[in-house]
């Protein structure tokens, strides 16, 4: 299922059956600055796709183009074959839910209420049914609450249902944001740095959670800086550098690619110390440390 396409030139595969998301030629300009240039990306059903890149590469801008928060200057975004409107609530209605890089929960609502707001697009009770409180309204509220409780169960927040979102610890706020996004029953979930600021244990838990979400049939597109997390999790990884897609392919392919390493660590400049100079330095260090020279460290 993995395809390796390089920048721009290769046309997006139009005929693939299970494509959930197809972004083609997405370009976003802010005045003179081009934040995202001609990016194509396809996510198929049941896939977990990673989007990586250095800070300022345009990953979040690209996300915002996908979810209707920004109107892309050029290009189209299709969800299951239909072009998405440029309104974020309609995008959610269509079936794409997202989380935010800096957590944006409804801080002064309870955990359960947060998830219930996520149910907004999947319920239809209007003002009048709320005022009249007929049996249908009560049934819909009960169903919504049951579904929300299932999601809290799924994310492990059941016993926090009546806490205000602002009082949750950081890791649980991240989980709640995912639960809230899942409440809209999305076909595609966009996660913007879900493990930022997390400990190794929490990161592992998040990985399990994302895999469980995939098990339930939701495709996932995830932005992340934690390389180990991305390469362990994703079926495919795309690299965005300075607004352009550098490479896309399996984790192994991307991991080995020189351009990716260069984008993250910088390219060798002219007159950079070569292997000979490096050996010289190593020898000098070994000499100066004296007794420790017998056990030269490896892989530094």
């Amino acid at each position: 299922m993995t395809t390796t396409t390089t920048t721009g030139r290769a046309p997006a595969p139009r005929d693939t059956g299970g494509a959930v998301l197809e972004a083609s030629g997405v370009t976003m300009r802010f005045g003179g600055l081009t934040a995202v240039r001609d990016v194509d990306l396809t996510v198929r059903a049941g896939e977990i796709v990673g989007l990586i890149g250095p800070n300022g590469a345009g990953k979040t801008t690209f996300f915002n183009c996908l979810t209707g928060l920004y109107i892309p200057t050029e290009g189209t975004v299709r969800y299951r074959g239909t072009v998405l409107p440029h309104r974020s609530h309609l995008v959610t209605q269509a079936g794409i839910a997202r989380t935010f890089q800096n957590i944006r929960l409804f801080a002064n609502m309870t955990v359960l209420e947060n998830v219930l707001v996520g149910r907004h697009t999947r319920t239809s009770e209007g003002l009048f049914s709320a005022l009249l409180r007929g049996p249908r309204f009560r049934k819909a509220e009960r169903d919504s609450e049951d579904r929300a409780m299932e999601l809290l169960d799924f994310t492990g927040l059941t016993d926090k249902r009546d806490h205000l979102a602002r009082n949750l610890p950081y890791g649980e706020q991240r989980k709640l944001e995912i639960a809230r996004a899942l409440a809209s029953e999305p076909g595609l979930l966009l996660l913007d740095e879900p493990t930022a600021g997390m400990t190794a244990v929490e990161t592992t838990a998040t990985r399990e959670l994302v895999l469980a979400i995939r098990e339930q049939g939701t495709a996932v597109l995830v932005i992340e800086h934690d390389m180990r997390f991305i390469f362990n999790l994703c079926d495919r990884v795309a690299v965005l550098v300075q607004g352009q897609k550098l490479i896309e392919g399996s984790p192994e392919t991307v991991q080995m690619d020189d351009r990716v390493i260069a984008a993250y660590l910088g390219t060798p400049f002219e007159g950079e110390p070569g292997e000979a100079e490096a050996a010289e330095v190593r020898a000098a260090e070994a000499h100066s440390t004296g007794t420790d020279a017998d056990q030269p460290e490896e892989g530094n």
Partner: protein, 621 residues
């Protein structure tokens, strides 16, 4: 404030069995070297002071009945003496409760000495204020009778005693704050939150709620009946200290837990209490104030839906009240009405609400695309446009629709099914005058608005409103059509205000454009409506009602300081924002937002959910 966390789980009883090492009060007595002696001495002084003040009210305070309220009779406390009497009794009760007397302990589930200190301050405040007022009005302290002196001495002694009592909370760790007198006083006023109460039988809890409602009715009726000038100011002084005192004692928290458990019963009891109000009044002037308070409060509650739930800052809300009032005036058979229609009242209400709805949509559609300050300015502009348009539609500068500045006078009284609202009616031996009739009619509309507020709050739509208020971008990303929902809140608020306006037109006989300014010295106007919402507490039902009652009563009762009224409101609002930014009645959310107490918001009673928040899934039947 981290110390509060440890008190959350301890019950009131456990807190007393685990006393911290007693420390000196904010102003320790010179004699009490031993803390226990000091405590006993403090209590003794407070008690003696309360008894003394009580005895004082049984004697005349002045020699002439010229001072408002007759304070010249022995063994017959009246007017301001009654307030001192009430404060003394409450001081004694709190003292006995804090000393752990059986049967009274329920009075102080939270703070003990802090509540007592505030209550002695209330007593001192009202008594010394009375003395000052007598001295000023009658010319000098020579007009005091012995009772006054006894009262002054008693309240002072009680305060000295209360100041010597140790604080409720253990002293903060050394070195955190300077040990000044001011700091010690502030520390003495801090109180632990009340612990979990032993559950009572259901009927007893409902009975308690009813008692609280009856007390509320009595206090409100007393405030309305209090004579202008000193008696009303004394009432305000007492209320300003006594309510915080009861708050420190933890009674309102206990009550809110009960109210959360019996929502329907609470609403019913409050409604019945409001229904009984006209029966307590014999004077038309007071029922006139009451119906105006009710209209003002209802409109404030409508605004609360727009501001408190959806977070739309609307500075021109009074225009919708005006739209409703003018529409009703035009179709209710007033001679000067340019339409010359006379439709039945129910139709007038529907037409008024519908026209206000249309205005709400027309104004909301362009302006709700703006945010924050810009939106506020635009709504302010539309509010003024309404008033100026009405002023100019007089036949000279435009078609004659509204009679311009003269307004539409002589709106006939309502007559529904042969019941004429303008006439007096006897009911169970009580005479219900014109304003009492309208009061009862308006109460129906208030009940409608309360129902609409509560039901929309706790629903899919209400949650979406709150989500928009919290974070509009996130709400949109969750699929909430923010613009549509904001328009819905705006239009719904406009409709409710228009509905209230149709009653207002009949109560006031006439409508004039000058009543619907942005700011004016008397309510209703947009600024006062917003102040009522903020003062009372955004997002709550009872908050705007209480805020509106205060905002209406104070100007109505203190006519003599009308020139400084806006200045005083400004100062009061600044103080409130400094010390209680969540408003008098705190929404649970707001309280947590403004006060970082460090304690996690763990619901006290799992069965009741988070106090102040609706328990989802357990909506009322």
């Amino acid at each position: 404030m981290t110390t509060q966390g440890s008190h959350v789980t301890t019950t009131g009883k456990a807190a007393t069995t685990k006393p911290h090492t007693p420390t000196a009060g904010p102003a320790p007595l010179p004699l009490g070297a031993d803390p226990h002696t000091a405590r006993r001495l403090g209590r003794g002084l407070t008690g003696a002071g309360a008894v003394l003040a009580f005895a004082g009210t049984m004697l005349p305070w002045t020699w002439t009945a010229e001072f408002p309220g007759d304070l010249t009779l022995a063994l017959y406390p009246a007017g301001l003496q009654l307030l001192t009497l009430a404060a003394s009794v409450l001081t004694a009760a709190l003292l006995l409760a804090s000393a752990g007397v059986r049967g009274l302990r329920w009075l102080t589930p939270g703070g003990k000495h802090s509540a007592l200190l505030l209550m002695t301050l209330a007593n001192l405040g009202v008594t010394w204020y009375t003395a000052g007022a007598i001295a000023v009005e009658l010319g000098g302290i020579v007009n005091f009778e012995p009772g006054m002196w006894i009262g002054l001495a008693g309240t002072l002694v009680a305060l000295v005693g209360a100041l010597a009592l140790p604080a409720d909370l253990p002293p903060e760790p050394d070195g955190t704050r300077a040990d000044g007198a001011w700091h010690r006083l502030r520390h003495a006023l801090k109180a632990p939150p009340p612990g979990r109460s032993a559950p009572l039988p259901g009927w007893a809890e409902i009975l308690l709620i009813c008692a609280a409602c009856a007390l509320g009715l009595y206090v409100f009726a007393y405030g309305i009946e209090a004579e202008d000038g000193p008696p009303f100011i004394g009432f305000l002084v007492l209320a300003a200290f006594a309510f915080p005192a009861l708050g420190k004692a933890g009674l309102p928290r206990r009550l809110s837990v009960l109210a959360a458990r019996h929502r329907t019963a609470t609403l019913g009891a409050a409604f019945v209490a409001a229904l009984l109000f006209p029966l307590t009044q014999s004077n038309e002037a007071y029922t006139n104030i009451a119906v105006s308070v009710l209209i003002f409060a209802t409109v404030a509650l409508g605004l609360n839906m727009v501001v408190g739930l959806a977070g739309i800052l609307d500075l021109g809300y009074v225009a919708f009240l005006g739209v409703g009032a003018y529409t009703a005036a035009l179709v209710s058979g007033a001679e000067t009405s340019s339409l010359g229609l006379h439709v039945p009242f129910w139709a007038a209400v529907l037409i008024g609400a519908a026209v206000a709805l249309v205005f709400g949509l027309v104004i909301g559609f362009p302006s709700l695309r703006l945010h924050g300050d810009y939106l506020a300015i635009v709504t302010l502009g539309f509010g003024e446009i309404f008033r100026i348009s009405v002023q100019n539609l007089d036949g000279d500068s435009g078609p004659n629709v509204t009679n311009g500045p003269n307004g539409i006078p002589n709106i006939p009284d309502l007559e529904i099914l042969g019941f004429n609202f303008g006439e007096e009616h006897a009911f169970l031996g009580f005479e219900l005058g014109r304003f009492a009739n309208y009061y009862l009619l308006m109460l129906l509309f208030t009940a409608i608005v309360v129902t609409v507020f509560r039901r929309s709050d706790n629903s899919r739509i209400g949650r979406a409103w709150i989500a928009i208020r919290e974070d509009e971008t996130a709400a949109r990303a969750m699929g909430v059509n923010a613009f549509r929902l904001k328009l819905m809140a705006f239009a719904l608020g406009a409709t409710l205000a228009g509905m209230a306006g149709t009653v207002l037109a009949h109560v006031e006989f006439s409508v004039t454009p000058e009543s619907y300014k942005f700011v004016h010295t008397a309510p209703p106007n947009s600024a006062f409506l917003l102040i009522a919402v903020i003062l009372g507490g955004m997002g709550t039902v009872s908050g705007p009602l209480i805020g509106a009652a205060l905002l209406y009563l104070i100007p109505a009762k203190l006519q003599f300081m009308a020139d400084y009224q806006l200045l005083l409101f400004g100062i009061a609002l600044i103080l409130l924002m400094r010390f209680r930014p969540e408003g008098l009645i705190a929404d649970r959310r707001k309280q947590l937002e403004f006060h970082e107490t460090g304690q996690l918001d763990v619901p006290l009673d799992p069965a009741a959910g988070t106090p102040g928040l609706p328990r989802l899934g357990k909506t009322e039947a």
